[in-house]
């Protein structure tokens, strides 16, 4: 049962826990997009960065606890990153909150307000993608608004065993798609 320190508070953690789980259990807020308590860890959103004394910044969702580690979730360096990460995440995001169903209950919006997020820095046109994509007969996906957290693909791969895939035809043109015809 290693003891770790989060923002100076001593916490007793279990051996198999990650810093993200420990922090959430004890009320410390760490922002995240791609993490889910019941899904596999991917660490692709990079929002859950925390500072570990002696090791610098690293993601909390994939960080196993170690005895005596000092974790800071609100240091200056940690607080500077979410704003920039949000700019990168919304690089090709249409930001059409006015017509989006998720407006008002959207963590992307919430974090923008929380961390004074700004628009992406690119002056180029945003990359377009499929906006009314039928993932199944019940789910309609807007691939432009998708930030590729891959929660849906991890769920279908791990839990429901249905075949949604992450089509990585290119970094900027990646999108979620249904099963391909070859069945892979």
């Amino acid at each position: 049962m290693p003891e770790i320190f989060i923002n100076g508070q001593a916490i007793e953690a279990r051996d198999d826990q990650t810093v993200m789980e420990v922090a959430r259990e004890h009320g410390h807020f760490i922002p995240y997009f791609c993490w889910h308590p019941q899904l596999s860890v991917v660490g692709n959103c990079r929002m859950c960065l925390v500072e570990v004394e002696g090791r610098g910044l690293d993601i909390a969702c994939n960080m196993p606890v170690a005895k005596g580690m000092q974790v800071f979730t609100n240091s200056e360096e940690v607080q500077a990153h979410p704003k920039a990460i949000l700019q990168f995440i919304t690089l090709n995001h249409p930001v059409d909150c006015g017509i989006c169903d998720k407006a008002g209950e959207c963590t992307l919006q919430d974090y923008h307000y929380e961390y004074s997020g700004q628009r992406s820095l690119s002056h180029d046109e945003k990359v377009r993608s499929t906006k009314f994509y039928n993932l199944s007969n019940r789910i309609l996906l807007d691939n432009e608004r998708c930030i590729l957290c891959l929660r849906c693909t991890r769920f279908t791969h791990g839990a429901s065993r249905s075949p949604w895939r992450w089509a990585s035809s290119g970094a900027a043109t990646s999108r979620i798609s249904a099963r391909s015809r070859t069945g892979r």
Binding site: R46, L49, G56, F88, L121, H123, D124, R128
Partner: protein, 86 residues
């Protein structure tokens, strides 16, 4: 037209007029900012390294970038100049 050209058409020249050579005054600081926050926020270290290369060239050749922003053309006409040390 695609903002990112499809792979199979990369061999063909881009028929759009060059609209991307906009040298803005804040470009250097913007590139430093992007390079700095790319570090540690990617899955693969190649993402960090892209920022290192960018901030490296900005460190070493900052005067040429500033000249290009101010005068709208390259300082040495696009040539690589090796100045003989005196």
């Amino acid at each position: 037209m695609h903002a990112v050209p499809p792979w199979h058409r990369l061999a063909a020249p881009d028929p759009r007029p060059h609209r991307r050579r906009r040298r803005r005054a804040d470009d250097i600081e913007r590139l430093y900012y992007i390079s700095k926050f790319n570090d540690g926020t990617t899955i693969c270290g190649l993402g960090d390294a892209a920022g290192y290369a960018c901030s490296g060239i900005l460190d070493k050749f900052r005067d040429e970038f500033e000249y290009c922003i101010e005068h709208k053309h390259s300082k040495f006409g696009g040539n690589l100049e090796c100045l003989r040390s005196s």
